[in-house]
């Protein structure tokens, strides 16, 4: 595996910290007038999403993380794993629940997802930023109720539950922002 010297540190570089793959968010060079220089690094743990801070002596070498992002099409869930296909070469792969995280709530099939691999194993999956899903269960719509900010829960076809305005009805198609899990609007498609 490649190693990187602190001189090569930059935003987006993938390195191993505490045995986990991390992506550098910020790299600061700190040097006292007469003495040892350090690189203070802010990095995101690609497994947990957590941001951590680490310090290295300048010139130290750190193991790189073999991390690759691919746009793959979601095929199906077999009850245990989620299956994806590369549309370029028809290769398939499967992600487990850990890698899926919240993405599992937003996809039903055929969506293009960003799958991040670490050592050729899916590490995380990001659903498209916006998805359109049908409401399968919610309380009857209250026409004419214009109370600002009032909301109710609605269950979507994937099983996810989101907060929606009171006028939303069973069978409506909703646009959802998967990054926040928030209702955006009703839509015709």
């Amino acid at each position: 595996m490649a190693t990187y010297s602190t001189n090569e540190f930059k935003q987006g570089l993938k390195i191993i910290i505490d045995n986990d793959p991390c992506s550098i968010i910020e790299n600061n060079f700190v040097k006292p007038g007469k003495g040892q220089a350090f690189n203070r690094v802010k990095a995101r743990n690609l497994k947990t999403g957590r941001v951590l801070e680490k310090t290295y002596k300048s010139g130290e070498s750190v193991a790189g993380a073999d991390v690759v992002d691919l746009d793959l099409q979601y095929l199906y869930h077999d009850g245990d794993l989620w299956h994806f296909m590369n549309k370029d070469n028809y290769e398939q792969c499967a992600a487990d629940g850990n890698a899926m995280g919240d993405a599992r709530h937003w996809i039903k099939g055929e969506e293009m997802c960003l799958v991040t691999f670490w050592n050729d194993v899916p590490l995380s999956v990001a659903a498209p930023n916006f998805v359109v899903l049908q409401v399968t269960e919610t309380d009857p719509g209250l026409k004419g109720d214009t109370a600002q900010g009032a909301s109710k829960p609605a269950t979507l076809e994937t099983g996810a539950v989101v907060k929606v305005p009171l006028f939303v009805e069973h069978g409506d198609l909703l646009k959802i922002d998967t990054r926040t899990g928030a209702y955006v609007s009703r839509t015709k498609e």
Binding site: N7, N27, N28, F29, V30, K31, P32, G33, K34, G35, Q36, A37, F38, R40, E53, K54, T55, Y56, K57, S58, G59, E60
Partner: protein, 319 residues
């Protein structure tokens, strides 16, 4: 057709004028005090031995095997001038340091360096304050290195046991800290201590541990030995480094040789020791104190910019 604007300077025209005004004020200040401006070469057959500073090198076609070093500071030539009887001198020079880059570091930068014959470092601190006032900044508060540690992390940097120091380093995010006291003190100082001292004014820290002496003299202060060196900080950023100059050629040679050993340990390139500097020290350097000031960092303070690239007329990336 799209217009290519990549030829534009990095600094704004306003900053470029501010730089001109700062340099003029510095020269006025030096003139009134009868400190002579000198100009020494940037290219030398000798490099810096300090294991924490790396020189850039180049070669000429006529002497392909002879490495030439770009100066990391004009210090050595200026000391040879002092030994030659120049009296107090100053220089505004471009200097070069490899492997240094970040918001406060640039490979090439401008250094104001001046030497005061007959001054000790306390008198030089007063002169630094006078210069700060002259360019429109506040004068500095003063604190020893030990006091700065006591006030912020509550340890005595001179007597703290190495294990406790390593534990403190790990607590602040340096996991691999082991037994290099100097590096650990540097880490705590530059990432914790200096960021947590409450001061609205510039701050001078003085009396550094003996291991951080470089080319400064040492003195016995109660039970410990400290180096007669100080640094000026503004907004937590180091602006200047000054000290009583070591005049003892034998001691200087010893420190150079210790540097070369340290370079070997760190598997860094060996550099030829500047024997002309040693010869000058041997012939007699007058008692003096000297200081180096980062001009771009001073400009950052004066203009409120937070990245050195914003006060550099052209950055290396743009030239």
């Amino acid at each position: 057709m799209t217009t290519d604007s990549s030829w534009q300077p990095d600094a704004s025209l306003q900053i470029i004028k501010q730089r001109a005004s700062l340099l003029r004020k510095i020269r006025d200040f030096m003139d009134t005090r009868e400190i002579i401006e000198v100009d020494t070469p940037q290219l030398s057959h000798y490099g810096i031995s300090d294991p924490y500073i790396q020189s850039l090198t180049t070669t000429r076609t006529v002497e392909k095997d002879t490495l030439l070093y770009l100066q990391t500071s004009p210090e050595f030539c200026m000391k040879r001038l002092l030994a030659a009887g120049s009296g107090s001198i100053y220089q505004i020079a471009h200097v070069f340091r490899d492997e240094e880059s970040g918001p406060c570091h640039s490979t090439e930068f401008t250094m104001l360096e001046w030497y005061r014959v007959g001054f000790d470092y306390y008198r030089l601190m007063d002169e630094v304050d006078a210069l700060l006032a002259h360019i429109g900044l506040q004068t500095s508060a003063k604190m020893t290195y030990a006091e700065a540690f006591m006030q912020t992390v509550h340890i005595d940097p001179h007597s703290v046991v190495t294990k406790a120091l390593a534990a403190l380093c790990r607590q602040w995010g340096w996991d691999t800290a082991v037994d290099d006291r100097h590096a650990m003190l540097d880490f705590i100082f530059s990432t914790v201590v200096i960021k947590n001292i409450n001061t609205a004014t510039p701050l001078i820290i003085y009396d550094y541990p003996a291991c951080m002496a470089a080319l400064a003299t040492l003195k016995q202060a109660e039970s410990i030995i400290v180096s007669e060196r100080f640094e000026l900080f503004i907004n937590g950023m180091e602006i200047a480094n000054g000290f009583n100059e070591l005049t003892d050629a034998a001691e200087q040679r010893k420190r150079f040789e210790a540097d070369l050993m340290a370079r070997r340990d760190k598997q860094l390139r060996e550099v030829p020791i500047d024997r002309k500097l040693l010869a000058a020290l041997h012939s007699g350097l007058p008692e003096c104190a000297g200081i180096a000031v980062g001009i771009e960092r001073l400009l950052m303070v004066l203009s409120g910019k937070e990245d050195i690239s914003e006060v550099s007329t052209y950055t290396l990336a743009n030239n």
